[in-house]
């Protein structure tokens, strides 16, 4: 897959949908394409986070460790972004993400992410929008749980 195809994939991700293609191309060019094999972990719960991954192809399980052993809490697939929380705030990875089948990702290092955000404010605004959406969704779930 070439850079242009990666840019096309990135544009399908809501976080990047509104961003100038040249910027996305720079981000794709500066980031590393990383292929995970079946069973390999994109990130591991408790580890320090140094990168986020954008899944271009394939599926992965989100697993958290519980007292009763690993618990699969969600699944992620293409166009999803994983691990962004740990690079925004310095917390250890909150879950393990494990590839189910081959997974092709773009690895966005913390350094690259912050540079993109600070150089191109429109990316920052998009990140805020996505996080606000997620907060809103969590609040809703909380309300439902209480009510």
């Amino acid at each position: 897959m070439s850079l242009d195809q990666e840019v096309a994939t990135l544009r399908r991700i809501p976080l990047f949908a509104n961003i100038d293609p040249a910027r996305l191309k720079l981000m794709a060019f500066a980031s590393q394409r990383m292929v995970f094999k079946d069973g390999q972990a994109l990130c591991r719960q408790g580890d320090a986070g140094d990168a986020a991954y954008i899944i271009i192809e394939g599926k992965a399980d989100v697993v958290i460790d519980t007292a009763d052993g690993p618990l699969r809490v969600a699944a992620v697939g293409s166009n999803d972004i994983v691990g962004e929380i740990a690079i925004l705030i310095d917390v250890p990875r909150t879950a393990t993400v494990q590839a189910t089948g081959e997974v092709v990702t773009l690895k966005i290092t913390k350094d690259l992410f912050f540079r993109m955000v600070s150089d191109f404010p429109e990316i920052a605004i998009e990140v805020m929008r996505v996080l606000a959406h997620r907060l809103e969704k969590t609040n809703e779930q909380l309300r439902e749980a209480r009510g």
Binding site: A22, R23, Q32, R33, M34, V35, F36, L42, R115
Partner: protein
Amino acid sequence: MEPNLFKYVWRHSKRDQLAILLLVLVSLPFYFLSLNLPKQIVNEGIQGQGFESIADTTVHGRIELPLSETLFGEPLLLFEGFRLDQVDTLLFLSFAFLALVCVNGVFKFVINTSKGRLGERMLRRLRYELADRLLRFRLGQLRRMKGPEVATMIKDEVEPLGGFIGDAFVTPAFLGGQAITAMVFIMSQSLWLGLVAGGIVLIQALLIPRLRIPILRLGKQRQLTARQLAGRIGEVMDGAVEIHANDGSNYERAELTSRLGRIFDIRFEIYQRKFFVKFLNNFLSQLTPFIFYLGGGLLAIYGQLDIGALVAVIAAYKDLPGPIRDLINWEQQRNDVQIKYDQVIEQFQPTDILEPERQDPEVAAAALAGAVAVSSLSLIDDNNVRHVDAVTFELPLDRHVALVGDGTSGKDHLTLLVAGLFPPSSGKIRIGGTDVQDMPEALLGRRIGYVDPSAYLFATTLRDNLVYGLRHRPLREAEQDPEALERWKAQLAESRRAGNSLFHLEADWTDYEAAGCSGPEELLARILEILEAVDLEEDVYRFGLNGAIDPAAQPDVAERLLEARDALARRLADQDREDLVVRFDAGRYNANASLAENLLFGTPKRPDYAAEALVDNALVRDALERAGLSALLGEKGLAIARTMVEIFADLPPGHPFFEQFSFIDADDLPEFRQLVTRAEQRGIDQLPTEDRRRLKALPFRYIEARHRLGLVDDAFAAGVVEARRLIAEAVRAKDPGAVEFYDAGTYNAAASILDNVLFGRLVYGQAGAEEAIGTAVRETLDSLGLRPSVCAVGLDFEVGVGGKRLSATQRQKAAIARALLKRPDLLVINQATAVMDGATRARLVANILALCEGRGVIWAIERAALAERFDTVLVMRAGRLLDQGGFAEVSERSEDLKLLLAED
């Protein structure tokens, strides 16, 4: 050192000086003959004086015994001479002239080279003596001196002495002789005029040197300021970090400016005075003829002096000012070099300097035994600070002792005193009953290991640094071919003449026995064992992987590394991970390697075959042309330029992305933008050559798998493989040896060990590939028993100036390893694990104490808690020893230790 330069020179070179003097004397008659000959040629040979006619003959070459007529009443002929007519005379005299020119030339050549050699020998001796003294200085003295200043003294300030020493005795003898001859002649012609001339010479000789005293004083200042400038520049280099970190560069500029200003003032004043003296000197020289003309003329007019005598006096006087002036100049030079000499040796005469006997390498260094007994030991520095205050203790030598205390406790000074590196102000340290201060360095340096926190390493290989503690004197003469042996003998003879060291640097100095080994192989095993203990083995292994071996010198290692190459491929295949390395295949394009690597398919051994030079390499260009890639290369370059211009357009120049990712410098980006526009409008073919070159240069660093611009399609890949074949053919034919080609069955001497074992490129974009390959390589090398060979290569790592290519932690580990390797009876460690993290330090303490089982260790340790592992703990505060004993009991009763433990 001898304070008088003349006595120093005379003592060491009187035979050579006398030989040169003799040579000068022998050469003089020939010189005078050659002066007279032109006149003779004109008068006799050409004008025919003494010849009646062209056929007449005269006698030549008649030699009488000098003074024979006065002694015996008649001349005694030694040689009757021969008769020649005018033409033959001209021929004879002309050839005699030519012969004299040759003889004088040879004399001059021999005299000058003898003087030069003599000067250089003395200079070599002087420099050696200064360096020798430097090696005998006490550490306290050395700490007060600036390295660059000392370097300037030894290198530059004594340099003029070399030029002067050859003339030191010859010149005054020669010029003095000339001047006296002229004076005697004048005196014999007219006593009065002679007295006048002598008087003025006397005034010159007394006045001029006096006037030159301030110049000499200024010269002294010039020398000092220049030396300080050198010291200051050294300081600017050493303090580079502080200067940049504090924006101090402009202060430094002003500081240097003020120094340069002072040097300028001094030098300019020297010029003013020097030229005034010159003026005065010239004036006095011309005053004498004035008196001769006036006084002598009057005397002649009144008939009291014969005109012929006056003319002769004036003619003789011509020969006087020259030698006098040169003599005065010589005197000036003599004063100058004497001052230089004084100023230099003054710095090399400290009150306390080690006696040469203390550094005698042949002294027996028997093992230390008994106890370390320290009695009322004190160390007071120049500022009256008591670093160590009346410390007394006695411990058996096999004890492991921890010194604990805070930064001002004096534990660091105590280690320096115990290691015999600093003389105490009072008190004594005895080891096995002998005062450490009386021990020769052969004993201190071989039986005691001292590790300083600064952990200085010399700018050589890691191996040389580690075995430094085993090299005290040449033990086995180097194996040399007869020619080298002859050369070495000549060098040795010359060293002896200059009083230099007679030790052969090329000999084998390594004392294997001291390390408990029988030879180089065992020593390597021992070094690796110690590196393991100080936690440095893994680093050395990694240096080794990136190092190279010479397969011609180590064919067996190369052979086994080739085995490892296949074994690694098999291991990866077994693990189903062969996709992690894309192996080199002569028939395939490797998408994980750059275009340059793909074209060359080998390791460049000459700079004109390096990746960035390939675009200008005619041979490569030709191959690309023939493979039909030339135009394609321009297109690929344009595609890269277009993408770079597009995606980097909005970034400010200096953004780190440029350096990390871009193919084009930020500064060149605007130019490339125009270039892309022009190329798109007109086509690449229409661009000027230089622009086309710039585009074509871009793809050489392009790696398809990493940069993902989709530039390498099947057709291009096939073209590159074809070009690769053509390049290989052409290189083998025209530039053999310029490239070491990849070949699955041959060891590549130009590539690193890792590259040889991988024989391919790590695949881009596979998660965990690097770790997996690292492990696989390690396991493969281990299973083939190659790890020691790789580490041996790692030991050849050049550590850089002061070991700066190693991290601070690595330097400290290397310094500890250096001390451990010589198996000292007493290991003294002065906070040499200061920069390590806690876990590493704890591990090191355990390993080192285990290695030194049964031998003494005194360790000024950074963390009091670590003292628990030692037999005895000494608690210090403000230079005083407060408590000592086992850790358990002392930690019970000593408040200080409790406090230190709480602070940990």
